[in-house]
């Protein structure tokens, strides 16, 4: 573990010649400054112009809106940090796991077994993709293809019909509000520091960081770099499974066209959060903040009656701006 940490420090300190520590620090600072300034401006603007914006109820709504996207974005941050860009099958895997959970519940397998089986399936769904990526396949193409496979399978599992769970056993998971906070938000708030801990303080996390920072150097130190993709996409798969279970439990049903636009929302959270696309830098906390900021912005626009066209335009522009700024920062050494 110690030797791994030393290697990681050296890699991130630029001994490989590929990563400039100043760039990493500058990037992190820029992301933090952009998000902080943006959030302050938005909150000030919202408070001044929109009567219902600065309320406790609305704060809960924003956190709730950020939660499901945020949970998947935490998983996606592992994929990106490990140097595998994005997994564009997150939406489809979440849909499939929702359908599988619904199917298991309807077949009366019971809540505990259905939860366990769905999460195992979700992890396996991620692991298979990670294994293919580990063999050297392009992560974007691979996950796009798997996305089609998962969506098709969801359609088959559901028979293109609503799968009604037929029991209220899972309702608590989707609709309860312990201490006034939705269960999804509790999960998001709990998973964010956990995801940070896994990345920063465990061997698995170090493997992801090292492989993302410099694949060749990581290989030279004896790390199995193919494991990085496997671990990253498996963890993402489990996060997708949680999102799928949450959606099915919330309405007591699952169907093959849930989660419209989830892939874009998650990628946007990663980019706005400032995680380096080339890998090796960033933290799940940045992904969580990116998701929260986008939810805040969308909420502000919705309360001000902006049409979905304008909302998409603004979020798209924000993602473009974030990408450009971080790219420019990366070029300046």
């Amino acid at each position: 573990m110690n030797s791994l940490r030393i290697v990681a420090d050296r890699l991130q300190a630029g001994s490989s010649g590929e990563i400039d520590p100043n760039v990493a620090a500058r990037r992190r600072r820029a992301a933090q400054i952009m998000l902080t300034v943006g959030a302050i401006l938005l909150i000030a603007l919202g408070g001044a112009t929109t009567p219902s914006f600065l309320t406790f109820d609305n704060a809960m709504v924003v956190i709730r809106q950020a939660s499901v996207t945020g949970i998947v974005a935490l998983g996606m941050s592992y994929v990106t940090i490990s140097g595998n860009l994005f997994a564009l099958s997150a939406e489809e895997l979440a849909i499939l796991t929702a359908c599988i959970f619904g199917w298991l519940m309807r077949a009366k397998f019971g809540l505990a077994l259905s939860l366990l089986a769905t999460l195992i399936f979700a992890g396996l769904g991620g692991a298979v993709q990670g294994a293919v990526i580990g063999l050297g396949a392009d992560p974007i193409i691979t996950t796009l293809a798997f996305g089609g496979f998962f969506r098709g399978l969801a359609s088959v599992v559901s028979g293109n019909q609503n799968i009604l769970l037929g029991t209220n056993a899972a309702e608590w998971l989707g609709t309860a509000r312990p201490l006034g906070v939705p269960t999804q938000s509790w999960a998001f708030l709990f998973l964010t520091p956990l995801a940070w801990f896994v990345l920063q303080k465990t061997r698995v996390g170090r493997v992801l960081l090292l492989t993302g920072a410099n694949r060749e150097a990581a290989r030279a130190t004896g790390l199995r770099v193919d494991q990085a993709g496997l671990i990253g996409v498996t963890l993402l798969g489990i996060c997708c499974g949680m999102a799928g279970i949450s959606a099915a439990a919330q309405f007591g049903q699952a169907v093959a066209n849930l989660f419209q636009g989830l892939n874009f929302d998650v990628v946007a959270a990663i980019l706005v959060g400032g995680i380096a696309l080339r890998g090796g830098q960033g933290s799940p906390i940045q992904a969580a903040l990116g998701a929260a900021f986008i939810a805040l912005l969308e909420n502000f626009m919705l309360l001000n009656d902006l049409s979905s066209g304008w909302r998409m335009t603004v979020v798209g522009a924000l993602v473009t701006l974030a990408t450009c700024v971080f790219h420019l920062l990366q070029r300046r050494r």
Binding site: S52, D57, N58, N160, N162, L258, Q260, N299, S308
Partner: protein, 358 residues
């Protein structure tokens, strides 16, 4: 000992035999009876449960009439659907009639024009044809979105008048996605028919409960003290809205009246009185009647101007004989929110559960 060459030839022969057998199996399984013709349908994907049910109805009617049916699904992408039209026409396949369900109505006009140039009947379905495209299609068959929303509006106004707990005034409208013309048609018709009701905010959300919830959960806290009604363009969207209302301490059916537009599989909200009722827009019957309209257009070759509403018979489906009108609407009857209402409902020989449980 066999030579490698001979072994290779033997393997090649075996593979050839296996491939031939694989080809022969489906051929042998093909129906022996001759088909009366072919209808080709262009539509968004059947992964949506409404569209999947539409397909079941269309296939059942085509089989009943002795026609083959080929359903070409696009993803939610008009450009892809346009490309599919080009490819199908370029294939030179003999087609007796096309059924056209665009994803984005206005953007699909070019493909509609291309289909019209083939000279075979083109039946528009599900989305009301936009003005100016009249010469590109033969007939419209399916739901009347204006009627659908008007039925919901009238039911809401009636429920408002009868409610002892809600004094209807201001409310919200949650619609299908932007660009989906059925959504804007319904919204216009609802506003026109909902006399005496004030719209505070209207927002596009999507088709699913999850999308309805996502939008409603954000706008309801800002208006919860003044909302007395919510109109959603489908019962699926209404399900999400009902959950958002409850989370904000409002009781649907008691504090706020919620009305949807298209029935769906889960009757929980309906039977708990959280929805004031449901409009029976049956996907199965829409697919069924679209194929029947195409068949009538091919058989009669003549189209009568004006519109007709297929009769809302309880047990008998409409006849395959008789003329086609320019607009052929399926009925959109209203059903109340009690178990007795649902049990008593019949349309064209189907019950509520058969028509809405998808």
């Amino acid at each position: 000992m066999k030579s490698p060459n001979r072994s290779g030839q033997a393997k090649a022969r075996l593979l050839g035999l296996a491939a031939a057998a694989m080809l022969l199996v489906p051929l042998a399984a093909a129906p022996a009876c001759a088909s009366n013709g072919l209808f080709v349908v262009f539509m968004p994907p059947g992964t949506d449960n409404y569209l999947a049910q539409w397909q079941k109805g269309a296939r059942a009617k085509a089989k009943d009439l002795g026609y083959d049916i080929k359903i070409i699904e696009s993803s939610r992408d008009q450009a892809e659907q346009d490309s599919q039209v080009q490819q199908e026409i370029a294939s030179g396949e003999k087609v007796d009639g096309y059924i056209w369900w665009p994803y984005v109505n206005a953007a699909g006009t070019g493909s509609l024009r291309t289909l019209s140039k083939t000279g075979v009947p083109v039946v528009f379905t599900n989305q009301y044809p936009i003005a100016g495209t009249e010469k590109f299609w033969t007939a419209y068959a399916g739901v009347n979105d204006f009627l659908n929303a008007e039925t919901a509006a009238k039911a809401l106004v009636k429920a408002c008048g009868e409610s002892k707990t809600v004094k209807c005034d201001k409310g919200l409208i949650i619609t299908f996605p932007a660009g989906y013309s059925a959504g804007s048609d319904r919204m216009k018709a609802f506003k026109k028919a909902a006399t005496g009701l004030t719209v505070i905010q209207e927002h596009d959300a999507g088709f699913m409960a999850q999308e309805g919830y996502k939008t409603a959960a954000q706008i309801i806290p800002a208006h919860k003290s003044e909302i007395s009604w919510v109109y959603t363009e489908s019962d699926s969207l209404a399900e999400g809205v009902i959950q958002a209302l409850k989370e904000n301490g409002l009781h649907p059916g008691v504090d706020v009246l919620v009305v949807g537009g298209t029935c769906h599989g889960d009757t929980t909200n309906l039977l708990q009185g959280e929805l004031i009722g449901s409009g029976i827009q049956a996907a199965y019957l829409e697919g069924w009647s679209s194929v029947q309209t195409a068949y009538k257009a091919v058989k009669n070759g003549k189209v009568i101007d004006g519109e007709t509403y297929l009769p809302a018979n309880t047990d008998k489906p409409p006849s395959d004989d008789g003329p086609v009108h320019r607009f052929n609407f399926i009925p959109n009857p209203w059903v109340g929110n009690t178990q007795a209402d649902l049990d008593a409902f019949r349309l064209w020989g189907y019950g509520f559960k058969e028509l809405c449980n998808y």
